[in-house]
Symmetry: C2
Subunit: 568 residues, 2 copies
Amino acid sequence: MAARVSVSAPPKEGEVTTGPIYRSNKHYDEVAFSNDFGEANLRIPVRRINLTDGTHFDAYDTSGIYTEENPELNLKEGLAKTRDSWPKASAVPAVAGSEEAPKVKTQLAWARAGIVTPEMAFIAARENVDPEVVREEVAAGRAVIPANHKHPETEPMIIGKRFATKINANIGNSAVTSSISEEVEKMVWATRWGADTIMDLSTGKDIHETREWILRNSPVPVGTVPIYQALEKVKGDPAKLTWEIYRETIIEQCEQGVDYMTVHAGVLLRYVPLAANRVTGIVSRGGSIMAAWCLAHHQESFLYTRFAELCDILAQYDVTFSLGDGLRPGSIADANDEAQLAELRTLGELTRIAKSRGCQVMIEGPGHVPMHKIADNVKWEEEWCEEAPFYTLGPLATDIAPGYDHITSAIGAAIIAQAGTAMLCYVTPKEHLGLPNRDDVKVGVITYKISAHAADLAKGLPRAQERDDALSKARFEFRWHDQFALALDPDTALDYHDETLPAEPAKTAHFCSMCGPKFCSMRISKDVQDYAKEHGLDSVEAIEAGMAEKSQEFADQGGRVYLPITAE
Amino acid sequence: MAARVSVSAPPKEGEVTTGPIYRSNKHYDEVAFSNDFGEANLRIPVRRINLTDGTHFDAYDTSGIYTEENPELNLKEGLAKTRDSWPKASAVPAVAGSEEAPKVKTQLAWARAGIVTPEMAFIAARENVDPEVVREEVAAGRAVIPANHKHPETEPMIIGKRFATKINANIGNSAVTSSISEEVEKMVWATRWGADTIMDLSTGKDIHETREWILRNSPVPVGTVPIYQALEKVKGDPAKLTWEIYRETIIEQCEQGVDYMTVHAGVLLRYVPLAANRVTGIVSRGGSIMAAWCLAHHQESFLYTRFAELCDILAQYDVTFSLGDGLRPGSIADANDEAQLAELRTLGELTRIAKSRGCQVMIEGPGHVPMHKIADNVKWEEEWCEEAPFYTLGPLATDIAPGYDHITSAIGAAIIAQAGTAMLCYVTPKEHLGLPNRDDVKVGVITYKISAHAADLAKGLPRAQERDDALSKARFEFRWHDQFALALDPDTALDYHDETLPAEPAKTAHFCSMCGPKFCSMRISKDVQDYAKEHGLDSVEAIEAGMAEKSQEFADQGGRVYLPITAE
């Protein structure tokens, strides 16, 4: 694979998209870090958006070196293993103050021990908060830092409700379509537009190799659902799955550097019949696989019975649990039903076990939920799972719009994020219909950046509104280039504008094709402001003084200007 | 103009799109109506969706005769003037029980007088409620039926929070682009996909003729903003506007059959300075025009001072007021500010005046509002404006995604509709950037159908969930054709599916390209259900009985199957 510097068309097979985003450049803020274990110079990436007035706006950036002007890429070697050079704290007890607890090296254990790691400091700079805030949230289990020791290429990020809402993009080939290099490009492409993490859900052949390529080149944490690969190993027959095969798969993936793993350990045998009379049964792949296993063996699954053992493997690498909701509702009719809630309670049990063994945990959530039932999901998750970060798929607020499920789910996603969900798994327009292509990935990512940002605004996160204000100010002042540059997707904004007014002078014109020059409300509004200032009518007091005078004048003349408005 | 029977490509200049939607046919339910003034046979249109099991699903239908198999069209003549043959009630006092009130012929006055009109009966059948419910809601002013006596071509519909949430699509040419026949096609196209009303916002030349074509061919109510045409008459100089010019314009439009009109009568002179320090000033075209007038004349506008007179004109035709929010916020920063709320209070005053003169009234709302400030808008509107139906533009939940404002606003729209907004004005992907084309209109309409439907689900409207359940059932049973047919946009769902699996057998296959055959959770889930049934494991009791037995068996053998899961 080789680099290429153009974004107007998809790259050729074996290439990935590189180069800066419209009127932006990659900038690194330098942060000197030190703790008891050493020191490091942290380079915090930002997308620096250069404005026409000479100022700039720095935005959170997930795109890695791919958006540098001329990135030095070697896709076979992968990205620089930056985190390897950072000081590593020693192993500490999994539970703070506990002598007997196993000693582990996880962000959770370090946070509990009062240690601020370089990852925490990096995140604090990215999120513009005090490093102590990061440490506290991680220590409480309210936030996770998915950062496998064996994935040193990542730029650390945090998932927790006190921080900016994050989004995940699913990629991965299936038996039916797509190649390895396509998947690597999808990762680069998704992070270019703002994906905070990537899940590789490959189920086809070359599953190990695809993941290796993605991991070595990914600047963001990578998640997987290991049961998919395990199932490949038993040729697709769920009943043939064993703990040994699963364990081997987990270790293989931990060794590669996977940062978080979805584990459907909450699908208990007795919950399976609860899903029997649903409109859409079990819609989670992992959930249906585990349900099949449980029924075939008439036993609880090895994910549940061997959970403590599983924790100890993940803790060695500091791989974060994403406890899967195998019984999530797949339709409005099934939302918040007994099957879903029974599993969520079990995920709460498992959360406590994982945390007691030093593991970081987040909880996956629905699915399909009508708007009035969304907030309850967050309430129950926080109550039953000790406020572990919630990570939801949408939810879709209606079932009736296949082809537009990025939108049906953007509605649910914004609402559930406002209620406290920490990460949103994107849904593309192809959901329920087919595998997303490059365009679908971008639309999914941008749509979810919208939901996440809308929630951050509603939560009143410091800095969230700054970008809205900067863009709106540019809009009102007809700085078209700045409006495009500050947009989540400058290329599309520019294209749409240019469809009707492509000439360069239109980029500074005080109107657009929506209303034309005569009817542009913002132009008139600016004229109104100017007029008011010139005539000293720019305050309520001035207006009222003027009106009183005018009113008196007409009264003196016996005239009548203001027809009384009453409900005669 | 002539008819054409294909939807795969835009029609030629002078033609409009006709023909049934995928696997559907236009069906009419016949309803015999009679009241003291006569009788009529009402034909209630539905989109009958034919399912593969021989049953059908009837959906609310806004598309007029254009979706019939072979509609008899004569675009120059227009649609049949069906309502002209219905019994018309006589004039009654504008206010029930009031002797002095002027006698008018409006749905509001009739409703107050206890008369169920054919329009109310038609609507009751469409909405599946008792006609008395319709009458009561109209009488209370909580719902409006925009139905100008001079627009007999419409199929009556209602806007009120107790009924299905409605959506409006704006069309209209501007000085910069588009032709008359394009606008008629946009109307046909928008109603095909579910627009409940159309606003013709034309500002270019041929404004009268464009509107005539649209009105004569529109099966849905048509709204306008008359100040736009008035401004054309004074060559674009707001200061030159006069009551006489405006009055002449209003009468011209009433005579043509416009069903509702946006009137920015709440922009008072003293409110103008309140908008001076906003990030985006005044973003409503009508609002900025009226503000300019007020400042130039240092007077309250003729819309305000002559409001009672205006009411009496509109009442003659039963044209519904849409009291415009000329000071609506155009950015997150300006949401719920003093300018906006001051105007809303004034709209409350005007509502009382209009209703006292027999006029139907709805209230326009924002704009740009962050999620946490949305519900207050509905609360204040209901409190200050006597629960007149709220009709909002989005609102956009963030400013930072030009090119995707159908989505930023779909989030706000769903939330504000759930809170009680009766009609949502769509926003297309071109918002802020350019004039929407045919594709943009469709995307805008479908997106807003999603928001409206999501809100109806959340409000628990009877029948809202039936379609979700029907579609989800089809999905779970791999009835692909039914899933497409029940979708808001079958064509797009089909296209997306066929991108990867175009062959006809894939339409009955028990998987899709998302997961491939081996990983399809719904296939596995169905297998699980079948297995559970075969083995008598389809209830919690059966599972528990089996587990107890198995557990005992292993205990007897001194074995241990279930590793205890505790937070050791």
